[in-house]
Symmetry: C2
């Protein structure tokens, strides 16, 4: 079987760069240690190898299919796979013991999901959505709701989903119109349409628990009037049996990628017999949903990174094995061709992929660690961890999902014409990956979140905390000659962000948000280079530390040297584009707020 | 039907920016005038509207299929379409009258093909390959060969192809092994395998004329021993009948895009009964083939631009019609949503697409004009036109095929989740487009061609000629206040190219080609920004001239203002990345010529 990730990298990130053992000091994770953690990850790898990777191509070639009568046909193996994953704890494992979980940190849970994403990203979504939906019920629902719905989700029998998007509203949740009329207690009669519901009603699960945003009749307009409901496909009746809850699957979108993953259109209450159970208080639905959404954003970012990683692994293997051409100085055509990994342009394409994929995975694990710390620590520490996580969330969502596509394109490119054929998986990685920049808030929305909310909040405290962390890495890197130049560049980039914000913040202060946010995406791109550069410097720093040790095996030495090498590559080839973004941001002309739309024709 | 290009743009480029009328002074094109030219382009548009665009999605959804017995099934409409296109002259129309053509300039012929590419890029390939193959026979074959093969290709009954790639050789033509053994006169017995043969043996044509590279027994090793052969599927017998020539189609590659376009595996001489007819002299095959290849490179670049244009048109229409969200300053959720074209980030994405697609089409038409001039002019003028064309060829090939993918990705992004579904064509544009960076020499090969050959040839004369042309545009733009800043930037970029070459050329002079070429792709990217920026300044300059006229209709005024606006956008948002490329090129560390491949693991 082809490699789809690098276990040495994961070990390096989990135990050396972002050492997990600091988690075990907290009560929440005190039942674990490094050996157990790695064993769990290895068992997830086995599951991915045996049950997920083998169906990657097949699920693309025989995609999910709607039968015209409310049913979505998924791959025949899916039921068994979900059940096997559930059994190992990969749906409910991160929940607390008291909620039926294994109290696993995201550092373990998310890394297992990285393996699933890299092996077969169509499957991982089914699991991840269930985790998120159950987590939402657990956090904000009643004990009764938890007991009724969560165990069956964790066992993989039922599928959890998140139902936000409506045809007329798209990203603008303000405008959702799915309605909820009070029947009694916390039961509401629901009517409305939801589209793009991933993991919607399919044949691999027996029931579906849709965590749905709707508007209670008479609620305030806009996002202040949105409530969260549990809407099962089959609702539990008083006698414990299940009855159909008038949630009809009206279609499944055919897509260019993730073709094994159901993307459904759901119709609630066509026969006025759809009951939704209010979660928490009325009109607080969006803030509840954001718990799930923030987790989902990190997960989508990591998924993009994972798919890019899988493409990179395929590309790397091909380049090592494929003989073609000779080096420029070799003029003798009777000499045998070299393997293409010897060509400089191939090395450039491999290192670009490595820089993007591994840099993104490193950031994803950093985010997961912050998530774990914020959940495990005491109240005083919590605020800072959360602020750091909040400012990094739009970056871990957007960078891998944008640059990952470029990375997968390079994987295709290294395979030449073969990369475009279905004989190799890289074209599927390229197709699958494209959705990541749309899921859970498009890149433009992440950019507005970063510049419009995260940078401004608490007078810039999140950014300050991040700068402090980055400065720590810079200081430490300065003790290594081989990293001095990168440390200096990163320091300059940090100052550049401050400089750009000095230029832009006055617009925000005077309330000119149109001007302040017009180039938010360019700002996001610029800042992403700095953050990924920071991750690379962190990795190179740890590698430099390790390389001082003696008696290392040659391949281990190469592993660490490869980290320093790729760090240098990132700073030489990728980082300069941050300065290009800054040039754009400092050019004052306003070209993207025109009202004469004929200019675009 | 959805728009897939902009006819006003084509008129602007053909008659104002790169005025075609200068061609009509030459004898070769003296039979034409502007009105006729435009009528022909309009008739091509009608053909594309009626016969090509309607099958764009269908040919993707029911792709070309191999029957396991040597036959490739294409879309049932293809035969009729090829025949209709042939009848209008869109296969043979650019040939001389004496060779059965209409002596059309590429400015007309290539623009018609742009329409076909934008409407349905799976169809255009069949036509374009026939044109190229027939052109090759006409240029280098005998009268007898011309008479035997060309008319049937021009009529669309027979399909021409180019057969270069072999499984073991890929891009490295040095290593092709298809063999040719002399039988008599110019007839050779052929044996070998060719893969990725576009338009290979399918059911829409009755015969196939494969322009094939092979090695005559005893020929020198390497590219000096490659000859060009005409190898028909059915060879003309002495009595005028056709007999099977032992060219077996062994398979059709399944691909992620261009699924309506056959990509075959051909096996020559399995039964020792395959005859190839030598074209021209032995061992000169590669230089002959380069005539076809250079044309094909321009055509592929224009095709990438055309597909990006089609995606942009879809994106633009959607953004104008789709209501969603409100501007940042609008806090009242009861106000109706705006059409998304009002959002700054959407405008950024539209202008990026417009800058890439239109800038590339402008360059494609510039190249076609240079091609026409070089064929129509006298000997003294010819050398300069050819040098200019040669230096621009890798750029028109590489820039649209790389940036076009980014452009189509933005088209998807503007449609949100819908863009990822097969309900809209943009995902198909995105998939189709990816092959363009691989056809006719990958981007890496274009880069080596640019820096390793074109920049160096005749002591840098081609580059000097290009700089002269760019300087003319800069000088003229300096008379317009609204373009002064862009003119200055372009001037700086030109100096930057000279500066980079000053840094790099010594490596070439001392024969260190590994070092000289290691970052050729980064150089290509950098120089592409300058060349496309030049095209934008040329367009803006013409628009500024026109806007001095009075009494213009408002929409025409907007059209010209849109050109200036997009030019400014290109210089603000895209051009700064040229400077990032320069930073990379001037960072001296050599990171992409390592011999320890474990560094990539």
């Amino acid at each position: 079987m082809a490699n789809y990730t690098n276990m040495e990298l994961l070990k390096f990130l989990l135990f050396e760069v972002h050492p997990m053992n600091s988690l075990f000091n907290y009560e929440r994770f005190a039942h674990l240690n490094e050996e157990q953690a790695w064993m769990m990850i290895e068992s997830a790898k086995l599951l991915a190898d045996q049950e997920m990777a083998p169906f990657f191509r097949e699920m693309d070639e025989t995609p999910v299919k709607y039968d015209g009568k409310g049913n979505v046909q998924t791959h025949p193996a899916l039921k068994k796979i979900i059940s096997a994953a559930a059994e190992q704890g990969w749906i409910g494992g991160s929940a607390l013991f008291e909620h039926g979980g294994m109290q696993l940190p995201e550092m373990i849970f998310g890394t297992a999901h990285h393996l699933f994403q890299a092996a077969n990203n169509s499957i991982q979504g089914y699991l991840g959505l269930s985790t998120g939906a159950a987590g939402l019920i657990t956090s904000f629902g009643s004990i009764d709701q938890l007991e009724k719905f969560v165990p069956k989700i964790y066992s993989g029998e039922w599928q959890g989903t998140m139902a936000l998007t409506e045809p007329q509203a798209g990203s603008s949740l303000t405008d959702i119109t799915t309605s909820a009329r009070l029947i009694n207690n916390n039961e509401y009669s629901i009517r409305g349409q939801k589209i793009f519901i991933s993991g919607g009603q399919h044949e691999a699960c027996s029931n579906f628990i849709h965590l749905t945003l709707a508007r209670i009749e008479g609620a305030p307009a806009g996002i202040k009037g949105i409530s969260l409901f549990i809407i099962p496909k089959f609702r539990p009746a008083a006698d414990g049996s299940l009855e159909y809850n008038d949630v009809y699957c009206a279609g499944d979108f055919q897509k260019m990628g993730q073709r094994g993953y159901a993307t459904t259109h759901l119709s609630f209450g066509d026969n006025n017999n759809c009951i939704g159970y209010l979660v928490g208080e009325p009109n607080k639905g969006l803030s509840y949903m954001f718990q799930m959404m923030n987790g989902a954003r990190i997960s989508v970012g990591l998924c993009a990174a994972s798919v890019a990683m899988a493409a990179f692994q395929c590309s790397l293997q091909y380049c090592k094995e494929r003989p073609q051409g000779r080096l420029p100085s070799e003029k003798d055509p009777t000499k045998p061709p070299v393997n293409i990994i010897q060509h400089a342009d191939i090395q450039r394409m491999l290192l670009t992929q490595k820089a993007i994929a591994e840099g993104s995975i490193a950031l994803g694990i950093e985010c997961n660690k912050l998530y774990d710390l914020s959940h495990a620590c005491n109240k005083e520490e919590r605020a800072n961890y959360l602020l750091l996580l909040e400012i990094l969330t739009p970056i871990i969502k957007a960078y891998p999902s944008e640059q990952g596509s470029r990375s997968a394109a390079l994987a295709i490119q290294t395979l030449g014409g073969y990369g475009f054929t279905t004989d190799f998986p890289v074209q599927q990685h390229y197709r699958d990956l494209k959705i990541m920049s749309l899921y859970e808030g498009t890149t433009g929305i992440q950019a507005i979140d970063l510049l419009g909310r995260k940078v401004l909040m608490e007078n810039g405290k999140a950014l300050q905390l991040l700068a402090d962390e980055i400065n720590k890495t810079i200081s430490a890197a300065n003790s290594y000659n081989e990293l001095k130049s990168e440390a200096e560049i990163l320091n300059n980039e940090l100052s550049r962000i401050a400089w750009i914000l000095k230029h832009y913040t006055p617009y925000a202060l005077e309330g000119n948000m149109e001007k302040y946010l017009a180039d938010a995406t360019v700002f996001l791109e610029m800042m992403s280079y700095t953050v990924i550069g920071w991750q690379w410097l962190k990795m190179a720093l740890k590698a430099s530390e390790k390389l001082k040790m003696t008696g290392m095996a040659p391949n281990q030495k190469s592993f660490y040297e490869g980290k320093i090498h790729t760090c240098q590559f990132f700073f030489k080839y990728e980082m300069p584009h941050a300065s290009a973004c800054a040039t754009t941001l400092l050019t004052d002309s306003t070209l993207t707020s025109v009202s004469n739309f004929e200019l675009f024709d």
